[in-house]
């Protein structure tokens, strides 16, 4: 929401040179143990409370997901999936959706406004709203379909991982609120260690494919899931199996930019060189002898061009 002076910035959107980076930082992460989640939405309400977000009261459309989608007032949302992973089993999988805080954030990569999206050295990816220009490129850039544009102020919003709380040594609001201990927060290393224990427990309960969701395609994330069925993340309301920044976005934001600017510059340069080598293409009168007047005209013309 706003820049945090106490957090160092690792990456800034639309900025080609590195940010100050002499201080060492530990990567932080939030671990969401889906197997412990009861879908109580306390995290959702805590998010609304801490960030002072209140959307409209919607309608029930036949599902427990309320509101039905993330929006500028809903930065985290419980997604409910009734699945039958095997022929004779039934599970109600409940996933807390929200920004994954990718190590290689597609939103940041896509953003054209310098500093409107930053990645702090601890891994948090934050939108600096006052710099947002409302182009929506972050939405296109995100492999998880997270950012949402506000119709009211044309700025994009998403989970900040409570950068304001983390900056002063607190946990994100959702973590503090979670009644079952499903959401935990700490260094990424610690969270991974904890996940190992949780996965062992799930394995012992017959979830052979339990695992950690920390997708390498986006360089890992700073919000990770423990999944009962890590082999099929799609069961969890379409969690992408192998998320990565779309090649189109990568191409557009990667090689295209220097190439395009280079091509334009090259073309302009070539034109200039051509001109100074060959000079202007003057139409000389072959048929009639050039009159003085015309010569003078021509001179004035060229000075006009220049």
């Amino acid at each position: 929401m706003a820049s945090m002076q106490s957090l160092d910035i690792k990456n800034r959107s639309a900025t080609s040179l590195p940010s100050p980076s002499v201080r060492s930082h530990t990567e932080l992460a939030k671990l969401i143990d889906v197997s412990k989640c009861i879908g109580c939405k306390a995290c959702q309400v805590a998010c609304m409370e801490w960030n002072d977000l209140r959307g409209p009261v919607g309608e029930n459309t036949g599902v427990y997901d309320n509101p039905q989608d993330l929006n500028e007032h809903t930065w985290t949302l419980m997604r409910f999936s009734e699945v039958e992973p095997d022929d004779f089993s039934f599970e109600w999988l409940i996933r807390k959706d929200g920004c994954m805080h990718c190590d290689d954030p597609g939103c940041l990569k896509a953003c054209p406004a310098p500093g409107a999206i930053v990645q702090y050295a601890n891994g948090i990816v934050d939108f600096i709203s006052e710099k947002c220009i409302g182009c929506g490129y972050c939405i296109a850039g995100c492999p998880f379909d997270i950012p949402r544009l506000s119709r009211a102020d044309n700025r994009a919003y998403k989970c900040t991982l409570c950068s304001d709380r983390v900056a002063v040594g607190l946990e994100p609001a959702c973590v503090t609120t979670c009644p079952t201990g499903c959401i935990t927060f700490g260094t990424k290393e610690d969270m991974k260690q904890q996940a190992v224990l949780r996965i062992a427990d799930l394995n012992s309960r017959g979830y052979d494919n339990a695992g950690l969701y920390d997708p390498p395609g986006v360089g890992g994330t700073h919000v990770m899931y423990v999944l009962q069925h890590a082999d099929r993340p799609g069961l969890y309301h379409g969690l992408p199996e192998d998320p990565r920044i779309s090649p189109m976005v990568g191409f557009w934001q990667g090689i295209t930019k220097p190439l395009a600017i280079g091509a334009l510059a090259l073309l302009a340069m070539a034109s200039f060189l051509h001109f100074i080598k060959h000079g202007p293409n003057v139409a000389e009168d072959d048929d009639d002898a050039p009159s003085r007047d015309k010569t003078r005209d021509r001179k004035e013309e060229s000075s006009h061009v220049e």
Partner: protein, 210 residues
Amino acid sequence: MSNKDDIRRYKDGERLHHWIVAITFILLAMSGLALFHPSLYWLTNLFGGGQWTRILHPFIGLVMFVSVMVLMVRFWRHNLVNRDDLRWIRYLPDALHKREGRLPPVGRYNAGQKIIYWSTVIGMFLLLFSGLIMWQPYFAPVFPIGLVRFAILVHAFSAILLMMVIILHIYAAIWVKGSLQAMVKGTVSRTWAKKHHPLWYREVTQEERK
């Protein structure tokens, strides 16, 4: 300055029209490049900042599209491609070295100009459709993200290509002495016409004789 002998090439309305397209293009190129490459983001200051640049760019785009469409209708007849155009392209490298002798006689527009014409027209359609798909906050939300991504890519590519075309266009106008006058005053010298567009020149002089 102008000579009574000069030939009228563009009417006042046509010139005004061209310059509207030109100005919108420049505004679009600057605002577009500002949002395209971080090094050029400073250009947004010319438009009142990032938000304003984002707001204005698509609307200016619409103006340019409509203008180009009208322009297209105005000049399409002169830009029909014929066999001589291929020959012209073949001997263009010679012409660039001022060995113009082997170029076929050109009508109102040479093949290069026709390429510029058609690239602009096609580019405008691509830019319009891709631009609509990525236009926040009005249209983008209804399209799937994959399509938006594709549109952004198409938009960037078409814009860059169009800019290259326009660079050539501008350079051609600068390089070929006497061309600029056509879009400034609306007239060209007879020597210019005779040299660069002999067929057109013949047409015009025949008309004069009538």
